[in-house]
């Protein structure tokens, strides 16, 4: 299948892998967006329905999904900013340092966000 070629990792540079991850996280975020919107609009069915959803999802068991989701979101955002810069024709010579910076920022922001979520869910 030709569209699967986006996700070929073997023998490809980190730039290409970042591109594939950008696509993957994009798909994940779109699916999440749909889920999140239906989750939020459930309030029109009444306060109890909404609070029922909240009681299931804002629990330590769901934390792992949230952490992964945040990873996807942070990566997509930071990488997206890098792509915006390059696609304006700027900074091509610095593309390697910028790529490493992107991954570093992703890691730092993700760890921070995960920690905050952990604190919130654990009720500290």
């Amino acid at each position: 299948m030709r569209w699967l070629k986006w996700f070929e990792f073997r023998g490809k540079s980190l730039f290409h892998i970042s591109y594939s991850l950008h696509r993957l996280t994009g798909i994940v975020l779109v699916i999440y967006l749909v889920m999140h919107l239906s989750y939020l609009t459930s309030i029109r069915m009444g306060r109890e329905v909404y609070e029922y959803f909240t009681s299931i999802t804002l629990t330590p068991a769901f934390l792992i999904f949230d952490i992964l989701l945040v990873l996807a979101g942070v990566y997509h955002g930071v990488n997206g900013l890098r792509l915006i810069l390059h696609e304006f024709g700027l900074g091509y010579e610095l593309r390697r340092p910028l790529l490493y910076l992107c991954y570093l920022l992703t890691l730092v922001l993700w760890l921070y966000a995960s920690y905050q979520m952990y604190l919130f869910v654990m009720g500290v």
Binding site: W3, K5, G11, F15, E87, Y92
Partner: protein, 239 residues
């Protein structure tokens, strides 16, 4: 030292692998290995080759998963006892390692890759002045040997057949950046179209594999910038 060349063959109907033992010496290139197979094992092995010095672009093949020029790759530098050789991706295979290149050249032709000047003085030409800085602004992009390696790794090219591809767009940028050229408008139309710059999302693999370090990813990004300006101008002028 003996290495095994595992070559992906295609006889018009089915694809299969053939193994050959090559006695590799220091300095022996993969292309010389392919000729060795042809002369000693199987004369029907089909591949393209000409200059053997990395300037004609005929011998681009995938070696151990990465597209390179076979004539420039030394067997012993690959550090592996089995060398997997396959034809380039995103091209239709005609036979063994020979792929269909007509489409690639048609795309190159589509961006009008020739100097366009308002006055075409054929019988009494005049010298055009171009300072060295102006030459260096585009010279790197004129080194493209049309080998097809960039096209082989481009994910946008694998998803859509009509995407112009890194090589064609580098050629377009090479002329747009040439101080002697006067045909910006014509080329921009083609490059800003449906299968042009907007399909590139900077996987930048093309720049990684280019054997001549032409940096097609840079050319495409610069072209994007010019395309945005062009489209904005067109929009406001129409207003």
């Amino acid at each position: 030292m003996d290495v095994i060349f595992r070559v992906r063959r295609f006889d018009g109907e089915k694809s299969y692998w053939s193994d050959f033992v090559i006695p590799a010496k220091k300095g022996m290139t993969v292309l010389e290995g392919l000729y060795y197979i042809k002369e000693n094992y199987d004369g029907s092995l089909a591949f393209r080759a000409s200059c053997r010095m990395g300037i004609c672009g005929s011998c681009a093949v995938k070696i151990n998963g990465r597209p390179v020029l076979a004539c420039e790759t030394q067997i012993l530098h690959l550090n592996s006892t089995t060398i997997k050789i396959e034809p380039l991706d995103n091209f239709e295979v005609i036979k063994d390692l020979v792929t269909e290149f007509d489409g690639f050249f048609t795309k190159h032709e589509a961006v009008k890759p020739y100097l366009i000047r308002k006055e075409d003085r054929y019988s009494e030409p005049e010298e055009l002045i171009q300072k060295p800085e102006q030459l260096y602004a585009y010279y790197k992009y004129s080194l493209c040997i049309k080998c097809g390696a960039c096209y082989s790794v481009c994910p946008a090219s694998s998803s859509r057949d009509d995407y112009l591809g890194p090589a064609a767009m580098t050629a377009a940028y090479r002329f747009i950046a040439d101080s002697r050229d006067e045909g910006d408008g014509e080329r921009m139309q083609i490059v800003c179209g449906d299968c042009g710059v907007w399909r590139c999302h900077f996987a930048a693999e093309c720049s990684e594999v280019c054997p001549k370090k032409v940096e097609p990813a840079k050319a495409v990004q610069k072209l994007r910038f010019r395309s945005s300006i062009y489209m904005l101008k067109k929009f406001f002028i129409r207003w």
